[in-house]
């Protein structure tokens, strides 16, 4: 680590200590300069699948045969041995390729679901998984609206497998492997607010080329990954019915109610019990 990096880290540690641990765990603001993401311009993707290859190489996963185009015949989900896939869609404006991986939500359902904090939203944006905390309950899989966390069903010591936005590479100051390997600049890594601006400029400059909508801007409260498209997102297999509410909101009311019940109900029950006692007296 150089001196600059050290000073940055010391400053961050000092700030974290000053604001307390609660701050460190809260998700970053969507427009915070720390919130990193990737902009996917599906109009630029040529379906070469170099990203699939570099992803697998980076994370010691089986390397897919990217020469074999037969795989594109069917829509493929991500899997426990492939963190990202490129799918081909026949659309109203011809063939379109779409890369799929974890969306790195601003307020992820998976981290709110996780009872051990094994699934963790980092201050920088990527959602990462800690093997030494995970119990393998798979509640993250139940909760994720994009069905991204995948589980190794055929292992005695199974892992949750999903894209971590190359967390380990970001720490070294590198870009995610997929972004680096993309030959057509279909992928762009950066801060979310910068990416949003670039996306809007592209739409503004080419109003006929793009639908005037950026997938991930508001979906489920906003995601780290953003998509531009020439055709409505439904045609590209995206779910457009997920709403704009961050998923943890769905359980918030219940969780807020818990302390009320925990302290209020015993008092009520004790009162009822005393009342019943008095009534049973002759």
């Amino acid at each position: 680590m150089d001196r600059r990096g050290f000073l940055k880290l010391a400053g961050a540690a000092g700030a974290a200590a000053a604001t307390g641990p609660a701050r460190a765990d809260s998700p970053p603001e969507p427009d915070s300069p720390e919130f990193w993401g990737v902009l996917v311009d599906t109009t630029r993707c040529i379906g070469c699948r170099a990203c699939e290859r570099s992803c697998s190489l980076t994370h010691d996963l089986p390397v897919p045969d990217i020469e074999n185009d037969d795989l594109l015949e069917h829509e493929r989900p991500t899997s426990d041995h492939q963190w990202m896939v490129v799918n081909r869609y026949e659309t109203s404006r011809g063939e379109v390729f779409v890369k799929r991986q974890c969306m790195h939500c601003w307020q992820p359902a998976c981290t709110a679901a996780c009872l051990t904090n094994a699934m963790h939203k980092t201050r920088k944006g990527p959602v990462i998984w800690h093997p030494d905390k995970c119990m393998g309950c798979r509640f993250c899989m139940v909760s994720c609206p994009f069905e991204i966390p995948k589980f190794e069903y055929n292992s005695w010591n199974p892992k949750i497998q999903k894209c971590n936005m190359c967390w380990e590479r970001l720490g070294e100051g590198k870009k995610p492997a997929c972004v680096e390997s993309c030959p057509t600049d279909a992928l762009m890594f950066g801060r979310k607010r910068d990416l949003m601006e670039i996306a809007r400029i592209r739409i503004y400059n080419h109003p006929d080329k793009y639908v005037h909508n950026i997938y991930g801007e508001h979906e489920v409260g906003g995601t780290g990954w953003l998509y531009l498209s020439a055709v409505p997102f439904e045609e590209l297999g995206f779910r457009t019915d997920l709403g704009t509410t961050p998923y943890p909101e769905f359980t918030r009311d219940f969780l807020y109610g818990v302390p009320l019940v925990l302290f209020g109900l015993p008092a009520l029950l004790l009162g009822l019990s005393l009342l019943a006692e008095k009534e049973s007296e002759p």
Binding site: T116, G136, E277
Partner: protein, 417 residues
């Protein structure tokens, strides 16, 4: 502490009692044993494969269906069945309804065992069960997780039920002073237990709130936690009716014949409670259904399936309970209880498995291994229930206990099985 004896001597005596009671007694070749022993052994074999080769080797779970029969039936349904314990302890200790006192002990025992075995079966489903300690010891508290709360409330509730049941153990062991101390804890423990129950019964439903985009809209509602709470009341009461009816036949010689008539009265009372809670549940369901304007969803197969659940296994048993109570027909109440239980199984499996990811191309159905392991869990629970009922004062009165007989120097007679 214990009857002014020295502790060492007392513990030695308890050890001897435990040893003498631990052995199986009576016939081994009963129909239940003939069926259950092979299933339990087969289940253990399946578990060896499961823990060496992974969940995929014995279950039909997939990336689309991360939770299957073990969660949907063992945990989500089993815990609803265990709701009787909090309903009855509430009635007896909080509302002082003395009528139900005779069934407190068997109900608390079956509630405790249901939690230990059904919630315990969760461990079999965990991919990395050796980390189960993490949410408890505090190196990684996921405060924002509903599952974190549910797991803590499960754990504390098991403890509360153990305390509620402990006077029985103290009587069995002949510890009079300890029995008095434990008895004094009852009201506090019951209040604590009812509170924890209402939280984790509703919490089980709250687990599915974030699966909003996956569960069929007829089964998804922001009121799932309330549905789960209300339905656990009639599920628990119906379970007491069914389980109690079976226990009364199987353990006939444990019960004072004079008490048989009281039991019918109790069943009718439970039926009344079940009818009311079923109606409240039905009304809530109807209210949300109308409010969300879900009429158009009724036209396809899912709609028909939903109507089967709501009309056939909620409204119909509700009416049947009311009819049975009104005409003092214990038989009708028993049929209604069975139907209500089927309804609960349908509802919980629909929410967690059947209507979950209903758009998926490939459906999930449990493998035979998943069913055998579930049967193994249920049979093992019945074995433990029987062991305790035949030895401790659960169904019979506390007098004439083996500990006291042993103390008096009389030989311990062998009970059946």
């Amino acid at each position: 502490m214990l009857e002014n004896r020295d502790l060492g001597g007392e513990l030695r005596r308890f050890g001897r009692l435990l040893l003498s009671e631990a052995r199986p007694k009576g016939k081994l070749l009963t129909p239940f044993n003939v069926i259950s022993i092979p299933v339990i052994l087969l289940g253990l074999g399946i578990l060896v494969v499961r823990f060496t080769k992974g969940l995929g080797a014995v279950t039909n779970l997939s990336q689309e269906f991360p939770w299957g029969f073990w969660i949907g039936f063992d945990v989500v349904t089993g815990v609803a069945f265990a709701g009787g314990a909090y309903a009855i302890t509430f009635a007896v200790y909080v509302m002082k309804l003395e009528k139900y006192h005779p069934i407190v002990r068997p109900t608390v025992l079956s509630g405790l065992l249901a939690y230990v075995f059904y919630a315990g079966a969760l461990v079999l489903d965990l991919g990395r069960p050796w980390h189960i300690i993490n949410p408890i010891i505090g190196n990684s508290f996921g405060y924002n997780s509903v599952l974190f709360l549910v797991s803590w409330h499960f754990m504390l509730y098991m403890l509360a039920e153990l305390v509620e049941f402990s006077p029985v153990i103290a009587e069995w062991a002949g510890w009079k002073k300890l029995r008095r101390i434990l008895g004094a804890l009852t009201l506090g423990t019951v209040i604590f237990g009812v509170t924890l129950s209402s939280l984790h019964q509703s919490g089980l439903g709250a687990l599915f709130l974030m699966a909003k985009s996956k569960i069929h809209p007829l089964w998804y509602s922001e009121f799932i936690p309330i549905f789960f709470l209300v339905s656990s009341i009639f599920a628990g009461l119906s379970m007491i009716i069914v389980e109690g009816t079976i226990s009364h036949r199987v353990f006939k010689d444990q019960i004072d014949p004079a008490k048989h008539h009281t039991f019918e009265d109790i069943i009718l009372g439970l039926g009344k409670g079940a009818a009311i809670s079923l109606f409240v549940y039905y009304f809530f369901k109807l209210l949300t259904f109308v409010h969300d304007r879900q009429w158009t969803l009724l036209t396809d197969g899912w709609g028909a399936w939903y109507l089967v659940e709501i009309l056939g296994f909620v409204l119909f048993p509700c009416v049947l309970f009311a009819y049975g109570v009104r005409n003092r027909s214990v038989g009708t109440v028993r049929v209604a209880a069975v139907m209500a239980l089927v309804g609960i199984i349908l509802n919980r499996l629909n929410t967690s498995v059947i209507a979950y990811n209903w758009t998926a191309a490939v459906r999930y159905y449990p493998s035979w291994q998943e069913i055998v392991v579930t049967l193994m869990v249920v049979f093992t629970e019945i074995w433990v229930f029987r062991w305790i009922v035949l030895r401790m004062p659960v169904l019979r009165e506390a007098h004439e206990l083996p500990a006291q007989r042993a103390r008096a120097g009389a030989p311990i007679p062998s009970t059946t099985v």
